[in-house]
């Protein structure tokens, strides 16, 4: 009886839902105000939200909306263009000699480079208890011990909040935080090479035993100077023009000493009240809820200055509607809710049901989604009819990244710099038909690499000029892979006619280290087949990422798979993957030159190019470096993946930016359209429940009859009659 009542109650709820004007299957609580909310998801809880620690793309999606570095990127312009963000203008760059005097002679040796940064005047922090002041101007929430702060368990428990202007010293303070070893910043070692005095500062503050807040303002770093409230300088060793790109990362966003002190209050860490989980910034949004286990909520920062949507962009932006909001004050939404969604099916389903505004980053290897969403049409990939009827739009971009299989240049079989070895590697690369590979396994959702520099980054040339002539010919206005016969001939010239060693007769056998989770059996079979076209055998050595990395660090590999995502849009960030001193075997560190490519000419020209400002001379050097990579055939193959978001029809200004994640403020949502479509797409299907219930009753009836008959059974068969 109870069961029947419960079932009836559930049915009643479902039936009522069918007749109501809201959606029962909505995962979101009902909106209680008319603010515009953007709904999205994240797949892994962020590890760090402290701008000194965070170095992961999925974390940047959150904190880059909150923190503002001195520089940023123009939302619409391509190639990517730096622009002032917290700074009033681009930094003023001064070159200095050993004595610290300004250099006027262009050819003089540059010992130091000084960046002078002038800040915007209306840069204000979000409201936060760290800035709350008492009547006497003292900070309200500074506690002597954990007992004093026991009443405060979350940020919301603090009744008072304050704010203040972000000043130059806050930016300087953050650089000092990068240098403090206690903060474990990933940039500590790297920036130590550049920022003057950082290493020494790190040593001094690292040696100080502490139990609580250490005011870093009490210690000087020689490369940092506060000129006035709105101006500061950073001095680095030598010339390093790429430093401006680092100034566009959240590592250099301001952190006020009050914030640092607030979170170092006794007992706060035990309540997870840390800057690593509760960011405080000057950006368009502030974090109002951080439950990394379920959801993160960002809301409009009431103290955000007036910033306007850009009124110029790249060709085609106007037609695509990306300039329709030109001149509008930012941000265009009031709130953003990110929910933890680990599995693909729920994420995709909620997107199609209209509960997530965007699909999240879609890779071609998320097959279930990809196959549903796309078909290969005459023009390449197209949205399927079902998706088109949904009104979905695609935001697509070649990500400034690459995946590649590299040769170990120290390997006795495939490594080396003789002409024979070059021919061997070139033959293998010719046999590896990248176009075929990306068509089969990525539905054409990638671009075969002609150089280590991806499209959209200066140095990558388009058209005939940009092809790798060792592997491709230019035919019918497109690159065409050279023939397999050429590959066989090169292999023979390399000493392996028909894939066998000319001297020993042994077959050539390649060993490829792959990460087990990153490659399928089908892909491995395909590679094996392609190599067998040359008579070459392949053996795979699968391992997890930790073991693979161990092999790379020790050079214990022949061919390995790897990937690289740009930190900044400069060819230097890709070509340094081939820089000799970056080899793990040379630097005894986690260097990026996993092939251990060692070419003195390359290294010299790379070092020269690295220190040059943009211009034709630098472009010429880049072309030479790319040519060396092609000639030496350092990688077996490489490609640049295409990645994209799918957007529901009520999402506007969704242009992808390959480098910057600070794009949330430009998004516009039409909430009315969203509500209408959610209602249309989520009408519940009741009949299975009703049918199931009816079926259950239908089954129950004969069971009850059988039971009664059984109860009335007697020993005499004649007496077993039904009532």
């Amino acid at each position: 009886m109870i069961k029947a009542r419960a079932t009836t109650a559930i049915l009643a709820v479902l039936l009522l839902n069918a007749c109501s004007d809201s959606t029962f299957n909505s995962p979101h609580p009902a909106e209680t105000d008319d603010r515009t909310t953007y709904y999205s998801s994240f797949t892994l809880p962020p590890k760090h939200l402290d701008p000194a620690l965070s170095y992961a793309t999925d974390e940047s999606v959150i904190i880059d909306q909150i923190y503002e570095s001195p520089l940023g990127y123009h939302f619409l312009k391509r190639p990517y263009e730096l622009e002032p963000l917290a700074a009033e203008s681009l930094p003023e760059i001064t070159y200095l000699d050993e004595a610290g005097e300004t250099i006027t002679d262009e050819n003089a040796h540059v010992a130091y480079t000084r960046y002078t940064i002038r800040l915007k005047k209306d840069l204000r922090y979000q409201p936060h208890p760290a800035f709350a002041l008492g009547e006497g101007g003292e900070s309200l929430y500074v506690f002597a011990d954990a007992n004093e702060s026991s009443a405060y368990q979350t940020i919301a428990d603090f009744p008072e909040a304050g704010s203040r202007q972000a000043v130059a010293n806050d930016f300087v303070y953050q650089v000092k935080r990068l240098a403090d070893p206690k903060n474990k910043s990933p940039l500590l070692g790297f920036m130590g090479q550049y920022i003057v005095g950082l290493k020494e500062f790190s040593k001094v503050v690292g040696d100080i035993e502490r139990d609580g807040w250490l005011n870093l303002d009490e210690f000087e770093m020689s490369g940092l100077q506060v000129i006035d409230d709105r101006t500061f300088t950073i001095t680095i060793h030598n010339r390093y023009p790429q430093f401006v790109y680092w100034l566009a990362m959240h590592f250099f966003a301001p952190i006020a000493p009050e914030i640092d002190r607030f979170y170092k209050n006794p007992g706060f860490k035990d309540k997870n009240l840390t800057l690593d989980w509760h960011p405080v910034g000057t950006g368009a949004f502030m974090m109002t809820r951080n439950d990394p286990n379920s959801e993160i909520v960002l809301e409009r920062n009431p103290n955000y200055r007036t910033e306007l949507y850009p009124s110029s962009g790249s060709p085609g932006d106007l037609e695509a509607g990306f300039l329709a909001d030109a001149g509008q004050p930012l941000p265009l939404i009031d709130r953003a809710v990110f929910r933890l969604e680990k599995e693909l099916l729920p994420r995709w389903t909620k997107f199609l049901q209209g509960y997530y505004d965007r699909s999240g980053e879609t890779h071609s290897n998320t097959r279930g989604v990809f196959d549903q969403a796309f078909v290969v049409g005459p023009e390449g990939l197209e949205l399927s009819k079902d998706m088109q009827s949904h009104g979905l739009t695609i935001a697509k971009d070649v990500k400034p990244s690459m995946y590649y299989y590299g040769f170990n240049m120290r390997d006795p079989v495939v490594g080396g710099y003789t002409e024979e070895r070059r021919k061997l590697r070139r033959a293998l690369s010719l046999a590896f038909d990248v176009e075929d590979y990306v068509n089969i396994f990525y539905k054409g959702n990638a671009v075969a690499a002609q150089s280590p520099v991806p499209p959209g980054i200066p140095g990558q040339l388009e058209g005939r000029e940009g092809i790798n002539t060792y592997i491709y010919d230019w035919e019918d206005d497109k690159p065409k892979r050279k023939s397999l016969d050429l590959a066989r001939s090169l292999l023979s010239e390399a000493g392996y006619p028909n894939g066998r060693n000319r001297d020993t007769g042994e077959p050539l056998k390649l060993f490829i280290d792959v990460q087990s989770q990153a490659i399928s059996n089908a892909q491995m079979d395909w590679i094996r087949r392609k190599m067998s076209d040359l008579g070459v055998q392949v053996e795979y050595r699968p391992a997890d990422w930790n073991r693979t990395r161990e092999k790379l660090l020790t050079g214990n590999t022949q061919i390995y798979s790897h990937g690289w995502l740009a930190d900044y849009p400069d060819p230097e960030n890709f070509l340094f993957l081939l820089f000799g001193p970056e080899s793990p075997l040379v630097c005894n560190c986690d260097g990026a030159n996993n092939s251990s490519y060692e070419n003195p000419e390359f290294d010299a020209k790379f070092s020269e190019m690295r220190a040059m400002d943009e211009g034709p001379a630098r472009d010429a050097l880049i072309a030479e470096l790319i040519e060396m990579w092609r000639r030496d055939n350092v990688w077996l193959f490489s490609y640049h993946p295409l990645e994209f978001y799918l957007n529901n029809r009520w999402v506007y200004n969704h242009k992808r930016h390959g480098i910057s994640k600070r794009t949330l403020q430009y998004l516009r949502i039409d909430p009315e359209d969203r509500t209408a479509m959610q209602l249309a797409w989520n009408e519940p299907v009741i009949w299975p429940v009703v049918g199931g219930f009816a079926g259950f009753i239908a089954l129950l009836f004969p069971a009850v009859r059988a039971y009664r008959r059984r109860q009335k059974m007697t020993i005499s068969p004649a007496a077993t009659t039904e009532d």
């Binding site: 965070s54 989980w277 286990n293 379920s294 389903t349 930790n546 519940p684």
Partner: protein, 325 residues
């Protein structure tokens, strides 16, 4: 009974040390402290100094088991194993490798786990017992044989299939409930219906088949024949006589699970987006967070031991002939 419980608790100490040791060895076979540092530092531009600094700050700069540089007793205490594991016995879980307080996280995340596991557990047992008793009522008939076939089929299907199938049918095709998520308010039930139903259905095959075996064995006992001869209804015989007498083996399998309900379910929580301890553990394994992994294994072991003690105690309640000494 008190002395028995104390004795069992003392026995638990070497078991927990063994579990800790095993967890430690297994974890560090797969991950080294350097791997953990790289994972936390973000993989790029990581210098040897940054890795070393991370290890010092997180206490992974010591040898794993034996510190030859430290003399005497300190050779064993000034090690990663000792410093990281022994504090667990004082229920001091410390911080995760990313800096969060584990005790705070566990106390926050166990409630969503319980919210999912408890109704699944209670409903599952109730449904399994009812179904098994119904089948026993028709034992020897075609219905019984078909039921066994269905049970075996149900238990042969992967748990993942139930989850994905349930999500696909109920949430995606029929749009009856949210496909995943959790809201710790009065609305929580609408997120829990589907995982609870999936959990119950997925457990029917194995549960009902096992209970059927137990009940059939009891149904052939003399006291059942006597009860039937007295004219008692079949339902009364099943629920009032057979069920209580079959309780001991049921309790053996069930009571031990009660404390572990707090630990949640790795798969269910991950697929249904429930922020419980199951998904906490899964995330920790993925991000090579040894501090969380060892704490969760330790908590799981303690709860399991508590479950075993509770099982023994429950025997005395189910069968007055049982004495703990």
């Amino acid at each position: 009974m008190f002395a028995y419980i104390v004795r069992r608790l003392i026995y638990a100490v070497p078991i927990l040390i063994g579990v800790n040791l095993l967890t430690f060895i297994l974890f560090f076979i797969v991950n080294s402290p350097d791997d953990m540092a790289r994972s936390q530092l973000g993989e790029k531009y990581v210098t040897a100094a940054a890795i070393e600094n991370w290890k010092i700050e997180n206490g992974y700069d010591k040898p794993l088991f034996h510190n030859a540089e430290a003399g005497g007793f300190y050779a064993y205490t000034d090690t990663i194993f000792y410093t990281k594991s022994m504090r667990l016995f004082a229920f001091d879980f410390g911080r995760s490798e990313s800096g969060r307080d584990i005790t705070a996280d566990v106390s926050q995340r166990m409630w969503p786990s319980v919210a999912l596991a408890l109704p699944t557990f209670v409903t599952g047992i109730w449904v399994n017992i009812c179904v098994a008793l119904m089948v026993v009522m028709f034992r020897g008939t075609k219905l019984d044989r078909w039921a066994v076939l269905v049970f075996v089929s149900l238990m042969s299907i992967s748990y993942l299939f139930y989850i994905i199938g349930g999500q696909y049918m109920v949430a995606k095709l029929w749009r009856l409930v949210p496909i995943s998520g959790f809201n710790p308010t009065a609305d929580a039930w609408k997120f829990l219906i589907l995982p609870v139903v999936v959990g119950v259905v997925a457990g029917i095959g194995a549960g009902a088949r096992w209970y059927r075996t137990l009940f059939i064995e009891e149904a052939s006992q003399d006291y059942v024949r006597t009860a039937r001869a007295k004219g008692l209804s079949e339902i009364r015989i099943l629920f009032r006589h057979i069920l209580p007498n079959a309780l001991i083996p049921i309790l053996t399998g069930v009571v031990v699970l009660i404390p572990t309900l707090f630990m949640g379910s790795l798969l269910m929580e991950s697929f249904f987006g429930i922020p419980g301890l199951g998904s906490y553990m899964l995330d920790a394994i993925r991000s090579q967070d040894f501090a969380i992994v060892r704490s969760m294994v330790f908590i799981g072991s303690v709860l399991y031991i508590i479950g075993l003690i509770l099982t023994d105690i429950s025997y005395t309640w189910a069968d007055p002939r049982v004495r703990l000494n």
